[in-house]
Each structure stands twice: as C-alpha cells, then as structure tokens.
C-alpha cells in the first residue's frame, strides 16, 4: 500500500481523511505489546496508516535513585534498568567508575566478565526467539527456547545466587571467582546451545508460514535505522556491521575473534523482520564461540583488583558504551569526589527502538502489530527507566 505522506502537515485533506478513519489504542497494558506503553494506531481497512507511541508509564526515577545511593550500593539497583540483561548494565556502570578511578581490571576478571555478558546475551536472544515465535503462534518453539534458557539461568544461579538480577560485576572485577566445576558446566552448555539454532531453523525459521509472515515485513532500511539511532541486532539486520565489541573493544574483547552477523535478506528484504530474527539466532552461535575462547584464555590470577576498596571516585566524568543484546547502552557517570554519584545517566537501545515504531508500522497489517512490536525487542524498563 502506498504510504501517505504524513510529513506534509499542511495538507488538510490528509488530516481530514485520517480523522475519519478508525483508531485503536493498545496499552498501556495489552497482550499485543511488550508494554507498558501506549500505541495508538489508525487503520484504513486492515492496513495501518498512522501510529503514535507514548511511553513513560514505567518511569521509576531510576537514575535519580542511583544518585541517592553510595557508590557501592548502586550495583544491585543497576539490575533494574534491564532485568533481562542485568550484566550489561552492571558492566557499563563499572567500566565508567573504573575509568574515573583509573582502576586496572585483572585479566582473569575481564574474561569472566566476557563469559557472563555473553551468557546473558544468549539468554536474551533465546527469550527474544521464544517471544517472537509465540507472537505468530509458534508455541512449541517458545517452550523449546524456554527449556534451553532454563539451563542458562541455572548456571547464573550457581554463579551468583540469582537467575536474572545477577549483581555479580564489581568495580575492579567481579564478585567471586569461577570454579572448575562452573567452567565445565558452561562448556557443556555451549555444546548443547551450539546445536540448537539448527533445530530452531528446522522447526520454525524457514518454515513457509513464518517466512510468509516475516519476509519483506517491517523493513527497516539502514539509513532510517542510523537516522533514528537504532543500534544492535536491529541495525545489523539492516546490513550495517556495527558492533562495539569489534569497533571499540572493551573488557578484553580485543583478544576474542568472532564474526559480526548482518542481515542478508536470505528469504526477503534486507532489514525485514525475518532478518532481525535470523541475526539474533546467528549471534547465539557467535556468543558460544566467544565464551569458549574466553574460557580458553582464562588466566590465573585475581578476580578483582581490590575487593575491599571503598574510596569514592575522584571528581570527574566518564562515558562508557557497551554492546548489549538489544544494542548500545551508554552510561554517563559524574563524580564530585563525594560518597554519592553526582549524576548517573543511561542511554538505552530501547529508546531508539520505541521511537522508530511510528515509522515502522504504517503500511503494515493489523495482524502483524504484535509480531512487529515483539520483533523490535523493546524493553520498556530501560526505555522509561
């Protein structure tokens, strides 16, 4: 369907036409969207002609709360930015504080951090695959990915005592060392996870019904993705090979060799919903490879530069970006030398993803709303903070 030129706001006839069309509001709590946010959609028949998004329903003043806590006490609260990807938030904040304090993180701790963050990435991607499959009726794949994800979460529980909110990364390293038993279990898990993408592909990814629903649907072109600040797998699916782990390696990623997965339009158009799904599936394989390399390179030594160290950072500011499972997470930390952070701000990848929805949905069909919104992998928790 030809998209209406809604940028031409002087055209009163377009507005009049749109005003006569039926509208529906999804949310803030709706089964179709991974809320809470509000999605207003205007239809012309079964085709969406306009959509608007309103966020903020999950704003908890997280950044302000962080500024009211002592430096060491911010770590448990950081997990609440993105509960699924807690390790990434912890890592970003710790890297920023380490930059302020000029702390050298031991090599062993760097490798452990890589293992934990890549396991978190695999966990998030499995959750994404399950949610997208469920949104198009693929319940079976959802249960399979949930089953595999449980094994990962069991390892997290073994490591840190918690399944999601790990509270494991510390300033200068990690909270505790990994044992040989844990390493062995992680390697066993890698063996299992490595064969899963093929199973998922056979069951779901390249089946006619899913290809028909996703190929050429919800295309995000590379220039639009860059314009809207989209990062991560959604940008890579559009063909842009941008990954901070390669472009600006941090915490030891410079020693790890892996491939950046980009969308190739295998069954449809580059940047469509199928590519966004496939990129994440392939990144699971790459994360397994990264974990293996990190464990191979795991040197002996300390797991934290100074576990008892409690001095606040000197006055200054630092900005650090990490590549999370959804995109780039930037953390800005400002210290005035006091016991409390002067300012903490996060720029999360979900903000750009939510902002892009009004451009993504027009031209799509009503039945694809849930699939497309789920496929954008929006975490309102980190978008609203």
């Amino acid at each position: 369907m030809e998209k209406l030129d809604l940028d031409n706001k002087n055209d009163a006839s377009i507005e009049h036409h749109l005003g006569n069309l039926p509208k529906k509001t999804y949310g803030p709590f709706a089964a179709e969207i991974s809320g809470p946010f509000r999605l207003d959609v205007t239809f012309d028949g079964e085709v969406i002609v306009r959509s608007e998004v309103e966020t903020g329903y999950f704003h908890r003043k997280l950044e302000r709360l962080l500024e009211k806590r002592r430096w060491k006490s911010i770590l448990p609260l950081l997990d609440h930015l993105d509960p699924e990807g807690a390790a990434f938030t912890e890592l970003a904040a710790c890297l920023a504080v380490e930059e302020l304090k000029k702390i050298e993180v031991p090599p062993r701790a760097q490798m452990i951090r890589i293992v934990v963050t890549e396991m978190t990435r695999i966990s998030q991607h499995l959750g994404y695959i399950g949610r997208v499959a469920r949104s198009v009726g693929g319940e079976t794949l959802f249960h399979y990915t949930a089953r595999d994800r449980e094994k990962l979460l069991d390892l997290f529980e073994l490591l840190s005592g918690a399944r999601f909110s790990l509270n494991f990364i510390r300033f200068g390293g990690v909270r505790g060392d990994v044992t040989d038993g844990f390493i062995e279990r992680v390697l066993e898990l890698c063996e299992m996870i490595q064969i899963r993408p093929k199973e998922y592909n056979d069951l779901f990814t390249f089946t006619r019904s899913f290809v028909q629903r996703s190929a050429g649907v919800g295309v995000i072109e590379a220039e639009h993705a860059l314009r809207d600040g989209i990062t991560g797998p959604a940008l890579r699916a559009s063909g842009e090979a941008k990954d901070l782990r390669k472009d600006k390696p941090y915490t030891g990623y410079g020693q790890i060799d892996f491939d950046v997965q980009v969308g190739r339009g295998d069954v449809g158009t580059v940047g469509d919903a199928h590519d966004r799904f496939l990129v994440r599936l392939r990144e699971i394989g790459q994360s397994v490879e990264i974990i293996r390399q990190a464990l191979d390179r795991l040197p002996a030594g300390s797991f934290c530069s100074d576990p008892g160290e409690d001095r606040p950072p000197p006055a200054g500011e630092a900005t650090v970006a990490v590549e999370t499972a959804r995109g780039q997470l930037r953390c800005y930390v400002k210290s005035d030398g006091g016991e409390f952070p002067a300012q903490m701000k996060f720029d999360s990848p979900s903000v750009a993803l939510v902002k892009h929805l009004p451009a993504l949905l027009p031209g799509q069909r009503v039945e694809d709303i849930s699939f497309l919104v789920t496929g954008m992998d929006i975490c309102i928790s980190e978008a609203d903070r």
């Binding site: 039926p22 509208k23 529906k24 089964a31 179709e32 239809f43 079964e46 499959a133 469920r134 949104s135 198009v136 009726g137 693929g138 319940e139 079976t140 249960h143 399979y144 089953r147 069951l203 779901f204 089946t207 019904s209 899913f210 028909q212 629903r213 069909r365 009503v366 039945e367 694809d368 709303i369 849930s370 699939f371 789920t374």
Partner: protein, 360 residues
Amino acid sequence: MMEAGVWAKSWERFFGISTALPPPVIAALGMTFLHLCFVFPLVWVVLFFERKLGADLQARIGPNRTGLFGFFQPIADIIKLFKKRTRGITTQEAVWEMALIATLFSTVAILPTTEDLVFLNTGLTLIFPVLIFVMIALWAMFLGISRETVIGVLGAVRILAKATTAAFPVLVSLLCVGIRSGGMSWTQVIHVQGVLPHQWNAFSNPFLFVAFIIFVLGGLIALSIPPFDGSQGVSLMEYRAECVLNFSGTRLGLFYYSRTYALVMWCMAAAGIFLGGWNVPSFMRTYIEAAGVYPLAQFFEVSAVLVKTFVLVTVVIWVSRVSSRQRTDHVTDWVWKLLGPVSLLALMGTAIWESGVILR
C-alpha cells in the same frame, strides 16, 4: 432418502422408548442423550488429549494434578470459568451468541455415530456441515459487528472471509464423494465404502484422496481451528476470537467447548465421508445379531467411527502445535489460488475415474 420415522423406530428399538411418544419428543430426548452421553464426554477426552499431546510435543508434562494424569483438568477449568464473575452482555451480543451456539450444536443431528442412531440421513445430509460452518461464520460476523469496536469488525470480516473462501473447495470435494456414492446421505456414502482402508473413499482413487485433504483443511479454515485461527486476535495472547473479544467466565468456557466440539464434529464427518465411517466386518454384525446382543453392534460401529476420528484429531492437533499461525489474507490467498482449482481438478478426475469403473 430415508423413510420418515425410520430413525425414530431405530431409537425406539435401541432404547426401548415408548412408541406412543411423538417423534419430535423422541428427537429432543435423543439429541439431549447424544449431547450429554456422547458429545460431552468426547469433548472432555479430546480437550484432555489435546493438552497432553500438545505438552508432549512441547517437551512439557501438561496437566497432572487433577485426577489420574490430570484427566479431570478440563472439568476443573470449566468449573473455574463458570465461577468467574463476568461483565454483562448486550441483547444483540446475546442473540448472536445463542444463534451461533444453537447452529453449531445442531450438527449433533448429523453425527455419523451408527446407521441406526443417526438423526438426519437425507439425500443432502453431507451438505449440512458446510451450510453450518457458513452460518456459524455469519453469526460470528454479526457478533463481531455488534461489539461496535474496530477490532470486532475486523475480526468479523476475517471470519466470514475465511468461511466463504473455504466453502467452495469443500463443496466441490463433497461432490467428488457424491459421484462415487451416487448420493449424499450417510447410508449411501458409507455403504459404498468397506471395512479395509483401500475400500474407503479417501484411498479408492488419488483424486478422492485430494478431496479428503481439501475437506479437512477447508473445515479447519472455516471453523478457525489452529493453525488457521488468524482471525482470533492479533496475537496468540489474544487467542480468543476478535469478534468475541472479552469473553470470560462461562462464555469463555463455552467458547473452548464449542471450538473443540467443532473440531471433533468435522473430523467425525471426515471419518464418515472419507474413512469408511461406521463400517465393521460383516461377520461381527451377523454374529452379534444372531446372538441377540443388538446394542453391541452399535457399540462396535461407534467405536470404529471414534477411532478414525481420534486419528484425525491427533493429526490436526499435531500440525497445529508445530505450525505457526497463518495470517488471514495468506490463508484466503492460497485457498482461492490452490484449493479451489485443485478441488475442481479432483472433481474432474473423480468423474473420469468413476466413469471408467462404470464402463469396466
């Protein structure tokens, strides 16, 4: 065409009902008996089986708390839903819902249970299920429109689109059967088939096998049974039909019951039309009648139908669990472009094949 009143005599003979009762009373008693003693337990078992089979396919356990292996889970679900406090409905919604339910459950009259107990056995009985699903779609459409919401109207249109799209190939597939059977009544269709698979309509010639596939698929599409339930919401989470949005409590329980019954009814019709129906080895019937244990013959006939129905239901559940949901426009697209022309080819092929048989 079956002689009027013969069916009543069968029921009188089977149940020992007084011959003084007027046939409509016997019909009412019979329909109630069929529903309570046949349809309800059947739907219960299929609901339980669907949960367990689906769980097994998804590497889960499924219900295992209520009764042995969770057998009473469907009852527990129904009781829970009936206890729920629900919103009121408008008069319009009530009318269309009642029409929908009454239309669907009127198909109890054509269930091919046994030769002696089927109610409606006229020359056009086989067309009845197709008429029913078109009417159900019509009532569902009115129900959706009566909701006066955007999504209700869209869901209504989708349901009717699928039903009208599927009606054509299904009707043509029934014509294929009519050519072989020489009629459209249950007795004609089932008597032309035999006990063994190669004697069934579905496997007697390749064109009728195609007609069988078209019949089953068409029914699933028209009745919005997974994986063709794209009209049901915009996501799996909204798995209740859009035109029946906000079903809860008793009405939601009735919706699940009705959907499962529709699946069973369609598979039973397919078993009767294409898979030999109630045919049992003739020596069994002869021996049983000679021994005077008359109801045992009906028991074996019903069992034959139920076994075939269950096999079909299993295949449908299996496919629905492993397949993702198709969008409504995709479904109507391939039904028009594929099922329709293929059904016509099957009709021509059946006509040529059967005429060859006659000439031979």
